[in-house]
Amino acid sequence: MRSLSTAHVLLISLGVVVLASFLPLGVSGYILGLLTVAYYFGVFAMAWDLLFGFAGEVNFGPTFLIGVGGYTAGILDSLYQPPIWLCLVAGAFAAVLGGVVLALPALRVRGPYFGLTTLVAVLMLQNFIVVAASLTGGEIGLTVPDVISISDRVNYEIALWFMAVSGAILFALSRSPVGLILQASGQDAVQAGALGFNVVKHKLAAFIISAFFSGLAGALLVFYLGTASVTTLVDITVGVQIIIAAVIGGRRTILGAVLGAIFLIAMSELLRPLGDLSNFIVFAMALVVVLAFPAGFFGLLTRTKESA
């Protein structure tokens, strides 16, 4: 990866995305639907990697941000039916707000307590959704009256290009001076402070950016699925899947997270005939990847490139 400049990586990725944009010509709507979800998951995982891989903060509650974004957009639509873009903006904004409210106190605590705080936030949101059923649809889920499009292809292209733009922004950010400062803050906050960097400010910014993309992707996913439910957006299991996607894709690579997300969704689809066993196998495979190649797919890819 080191041998490739930021511009090179972005250019190669653009080529891959352009190729992927022609997929609708050749594959079924069903597969397009799977990929659409995978791309949104890719954004979740990339946003998470910015926090963990760079700022060094283990956020066990990516679904808190996603859920706040998705539900805000969905509830707004079901109550007032404003233009969809307004719902999306509101969703992203709400996630940022939720992120700040969560991060401000959480960044003050150290070590495992930050992770614990984020985990508790997910549980609280989950409970709130169930309790406030009249507003949120509770355990059954919230059906939104509008969708962005009923065309598989349009939905696919929206997800693909949304992921591409998000990925480009997050990746460029991670390679920028700010990304470097973030890494330094994550690794040794005392030293980063002694070098004149306001660690809390940088970590908070990372949290806000992560929240923005998580919330926006969550809102888009809701308008694609036509529903918002705890099991697809908020549940701890969803959060764990996002984390696994980012880790097996390759920590600190941002783009690796997309590979991880596609891998996870493709595997659970391939193994669907096995029923309940499929999840078990996917998680077991993820475990093997994490133990055997902690650098992830992307790390594996770039290592062979370096030695070549």
Binding site: R2, A172, L173, S176, P177, V178, L180, I181, Q183, A184, Q187, D188, V190, Q191, A192, G193, A194, L195, G196, F197, N198, V199, K201, H202, A205, R252
Partner: protein, 492 residues
């Protein structure tokens, strides 16, 4: 002597308490532009705390810290850094995935979230700074591949990249060889000649005496002496704190040990390779039951590798026998259970557990009554641990942690105790307590000791026999009395 007018760094009445403990009490110091002040004191004297208070890493409870006239006491450290204070930490944690050059560039970046594209001049400036501190040849290497001295240079490059008026350096020469120390000294002098105010924090006056204009000595949070290096070295109080009485223990002749034919431990033609690097080459040593043997060698000579091989932690060629039986097939756990216990250089205490819990853990296998007796005996050996029983191990000073490490190893009732550089980073006053404990072990127990040290003055009095390890090879073996004459050059 203490003109405060115009000082770049002017500290007054600085006080810091941790709970009931007063770590720093009413400290005052000042450094002018183009001057170097040495702040010295034994472990636990509060000198590191003073440095952290100046940098804003810890908040003072009282007092003022003026940087060129502005009181910054209580500010967050990034603001103090931007006021012109830089720090060189003793332990460096560079960004490992980035090159040396990128690590230096980091320090050149402004604290702005909108700074998304590095200024093209940054590269040239980073190169110039890295070259100035002597990193010119390794700009594109990753820190993980560099020797310790170069990591220190990265730290100093980062600190001066921000062009601080006041530069704080923690233990400037720890872990450096003589040549490296000289190069580092020259660099510090250059920085002083730039017109910066430099504060060197160290254990001993001697190590900084060539550089400093003035020295302040601290003990238990308070200033006990101030003056030129010579004056401070002559100071009554300083001498009392630093120089204990001399320890007299006579080496026992090798013939006095009964297991001459098959010594307790025999290491035979040991070879260890790390990749292509030969860490040990044909090393043969033996240790008799009850004997105290020191292995003397500088950093990187191979002491730790030798001990790790004996403990079964690294693969090796050659043979290691205990009482005639080869240990080759034994696992590390089996070797330790059998009574060969190593105190690693890194100490590896459970820092969140109390002193007592750490000891209890070491005595897990003992019957309850015996464990109690053993702890009682250890508290006599290390009285300070009795006072600290309920304190978390992580809050102990370095010397106390070392004693706890040794005590925990002794809880396992080892036959052979291996101590790897127990004196690393410890002040003389602690050395003396350690010395007394070792002397007592030698006189009152039948324990066998293998001691690895680069501190010869500590290693010799505790040895019946000495080996000198140099560049992976044993180059000398003999009685401690002969060491000075035959192998002492470069160590004393």
């Amino acid at each position: 002597m203490t003109q405060t007018a115009g000082a770049l760094l002017d500290v007054r009445g600085l006080t810091k308490r941790y709970g009931g403990l007063v770590a720093v009490k009413d400290m005052a110091l000042n450094v002018h532009a183009g001057k170097i002040l040495g702040l010295i004191g034994p472990n636990g004297s509060g000198k590191s705390t003073v440095m952290k208070l100046i940098m804003g890493i810890e908040r003072p409870d009282a007092g003022s810290v003026r940087i060129d006239g502005t009181d910054v006491a209580g500010w967050p450290s990034h603001k103090i850094a931007r006021r012109g204070v830089g720090i060189v930490f003793q332990h460096s944690r560079p960004l490992h995935r980035q090159t040396v050059l990128e690590n230096v560039k980091l320090a050149l970046m402004p604290d702005r979230l909108t700074y998304l594209f590095a200024d093209p001049q940054t590269d040239a400036r980073a190169r110039a700074i890295a070259t100035r501190v002597g990193l010119g040849a390794v700009l594109d290497r990753r820190p993980g591949t560099l020797p310790f001295a170069d990591l220190r240079k990265i730290e100093i490059a980062k600190a001066i990249a921000r062009d601080p008026q006041v530069l704080l350096i923690d233990e400037p020469f720890a872990g450096l060889t003589a040549t490296e120390t000289e190069a580092f000294s020259d660099l510090i002098c250059e920085l002083r000649d730039d017109g910066r105010a430099v504060l060197l924090v160290d254990h001993n006056v001697k190590s900084v005496s060539r550089l400093v204009d003035r020295v302040i000595a601290m003990y238990i949070g308070e200033r006990i002496a101030e003056g030129s290096a010579e004056e401070v070295m002559r100071d009554e109080k300083v001498r009392r704190v630093y120089l204990g009485g001399s320890i007299e223990t006579a080496a026992r002749p090798e013939s006095s040990f009964r297991d001459a034919a098959t010594p307790f431990l025999a290491v035979d033609k040991l070879n260890v390779l790390y990749g292509k690097a030969q860490a040990l080459q044909d090393v043969s040593i033996h240790v008799h039951a009850g004997e105290f043997v020191s292995v003397v060698g500088l950093n990187g000579a191979g002491k730790t590798t030798l001990f790790n091989a004996i403990s079964g932690l690294v693969p090796y060629a050659g043979d290691i026998r205990r009482e005639g039986t080869s240990l080759r097939a034994a696992s590390a756990a089996a070797i330790a259970r059998g009574g060969i216990v190593q105190c690693p250089e890194g100490r590896e205490l459970f820092t969140d557990m109390t002193v007592r819990e750490n000891l209890d853990l070491g005595g897990q296998h003992l019957p309850a009554g015996e464990s109690e007796t053993q702890i009682g005996w250890l508290f006599e050996l290390f009285p300070i641990l009795r006072e600290r029983q309920k304190q978390a191990a992580g809050t102990l000073s370095g010397g106390e942690q070392q004693m706890l490490t040794i005590a925990r190893a002794l809880m396992m009732q080892p036959k052979l105790l291996i101590l790897d550089e127990p004196t690393l980073g410890l002040a003389p006053v602690i050395l003396e307590q350690l010395s007394r404990a070792l002397a007592s072990l030698r006189q009152t127990t039948d324990i066998t000791l293998l001691l690895g040290e680069q501190n010869v003055t500590f290693a010799l009095p505790h040895a019946d026999r000495v080996y000198v390890l140099e560049h992976a090879r044993i180059v000398w073996e003999g009685e401690p009395a002969r060491f000075a004459a035959e192998a002492g050059t470069g160590y004393l």
